[in-house]
Amino acid sequence: MTGLTLTDFSVARGPCDVLRDISLSIGPGECVGLLGPNGAGKTTLMRGALGLMKHRGRSSLSDLPLQTRAKTVAWLPQAREIAWPVSVETLIALGRLPHLAPGAKPSTADQAAIDSAIARMGLEGFRDRIATQLSGGEQARVLIARALAQATPVLMVDEPAAGLDPAHQITLMQTLATEATGGRCVITSMHDLGLAARFCTRLVVLSRGGVAADGPPHRVLTPEMLADVFQIRAHIAQTEHGPIVQPVGVIG
């Protein structure tokens, strides 16, 4: 199965465990929102699962050899780093690197994947722009397009919606949901409960080193969970537009 399976998964930072004995299985077709307050270990869970941090227990992804892993999972880190003033198309083409044989030039299939990623992120007019000269939100979209161009069965993104305007936040979440519907396994950390409720098929809430809740959005996003994990009160409603979750106040 191409997805992510964690078994008794723990990650330590210094002397204390950030995550303890997490067992979790995420399959193809799921769009999983990873929720939790700051410091709950969302990024740590993803980096550990990818083999970028030392961990105990098993992760089906970090078990893979490096080259196979690069063809299995695309990772978009939270730090949106673009080191050199390369063109947008060049940057997105980097996503094809794991698929290129040594010394081989990008094939028509590679170019098709690049073009498709550009189209999906609405970056047609940006192809020849210098990536470092774009605005933060535009850069974020270019970097997401790079991850899409990698065309892997698993897509892991760390707070992709941060810094995007409302229209692009919605478009992005729709894109991720579509990827999942198309058979990919999408895992995204996020803070916007409203977007999570509307676009994710499943939510995993991290708190105090473990999984506090796991399930479909309407089961997970309860007043009790929000109060316990996030210390907030929220307006939760089912509408014709789907579920609405709007935080309205802080408890205590």
């Binding site: 978009l76 780093e81 673009i82 080191a83 003033p85 980097l94 690197l97």
Partner: protein, 329 residues
């Protein structure tokens, strides 16, 4: 874009290589000089061409290519346009080895004693750096280890100068450290060429990994780049090239810093294309500088390293000013 630039640079290297063969105090006519070089038909002229000018021109290409390529690789790995080959302390340590050879008189005893001492210095620096920043250390550890090794090598070089028994030894050391290609022989070429060639092959093969690093270390690893292995390859490749270049030519600054910086906009900033372009650009710059030292002050021994620094530093200031004006820095 990349291919045209590489072709242009190749043509420039070829032209400057020929020019370098034709400039010198012996004042040979061009046709006569080239015929003496190729056919060996005139005793004195052939000697000048084959034993003096040819090794000098070849070394200019080798040393320039080594510094340019090593600079581009360092900048690509550290994702910082201010990185340069000297950053990992190899050139400083190679210089220290050479200075010790000059000081102890070994250099006078055998023609290869100095380059070998310099290479040993470079190897020692690599061992220290790998011990400090070895397979687990990050790029910051690498930079810090390099700075520490550079500082130590610089201090020890000063100590040798300080304790130098006579002013002649001291001035010989100072002049050597300024960097020059004068009076080098084919022996120097044969000594440096394998190290520089090997380093070039190894570093040029890493182009795509440097490309992937454009997105940061985390993203690069997730795209299949083994960072520890890349760092080891980088240190060994840069050390092999820069150690050998310093061993035969002394310390020549600014080439590794300026050349990638000039060429970056011309290759669309892609690190993989910048590597070969910078190797050729470095060869062009050092050939030009080595011709210039012979043309500007033919009677005085103007040192190559002094000229590259005098031209390179203002050029670098200008580039920074220009980049800043475009809002890219």
């Amino acid at each position: 874009m990349g291919r045209g630039l590489v072709a242009g640079l190749l043509a420039l290297v070829a032209g400057l290589f020929a020019a370098s063969l034709l400039v010198g105090p012996a004042g040979l006519a061009p046709v006569q000089a080239l015929s003496a070089l190729i056919w060996g038909d005139a005793l004195a002229e052939t000697l000048v061409m084959r034993e003096i000018r040819l090794p000098r021109a070849i070394l200019a290409v080798l040393v320039g290519a080594a510094l340019g390529l090593a600079g581009a690789a360092m900048q690509g790995y550290l994702r910082n346009p201010l990185a340069e080959p000297g950053l990992i302390g190899v050139s400083g340590s190679a210089a220290l080895g050479a200075v010790l050879a000059l000081q102890t008189g070994l250099a006078a005893a055998h023609v290869l004693a100095l380059p070998f001492a310099a290479l040993s210095g470079a190897v020692l620096a690599v061992l220290i750096i790998l011990a400090l920043a070895g397979p687990r250390g990050g790029s910051i550890t690498l930079i810090l280890a390099g700075i520490a090794v550079s500082a130590l090598a610089g201090a020890l070089t000063s100590l040798v100068l300080n304790l130098s028994p006579n002013p002649f030894a001291a001035s010989e050391i100072v002049f050597w450290m300024m960097g020059s290609l004068q009076d080098r022989s084919m022996t120097h070429v044969w000594l440096a060429a394998p190290f520089i060639g090997l380093g070039a092959v190894v570093l040029l093969a890493q182009g795509r990994k440097f490309d992937a690093l454009t997105l940061g270390e985390d993203a690069a690893v997730s795209m299949g780049v083994h960072l520890g292995r890349l760092r080891l390859t980088l240190v060994l490749g840069v050390a092999s090239m820069v150690g050998a270049a310093t061993a035969v030519a002394g310390a020549i600054g600014f080439v590794g810093l300026v050349v990638p910086h000039i060429l970056r906009p011309l290759v669309g900033a892609r690190p993989s294309v910048l590597l070969p372009a910078s190797a050729l650009g470095g060869a062009v710059l050092v050939l030009m500088a080595d011709i210039a030292v012979r043309v500007i002050l033919p009677t005085r021994d103007l040192k190559l390293g002094v000229l590259t620094a005098i031209v390179g530093a203002p050029l670098f200031l200008h580039l920074i000013y220009k980049t800043r004006a475009q809002g890219q820095l």
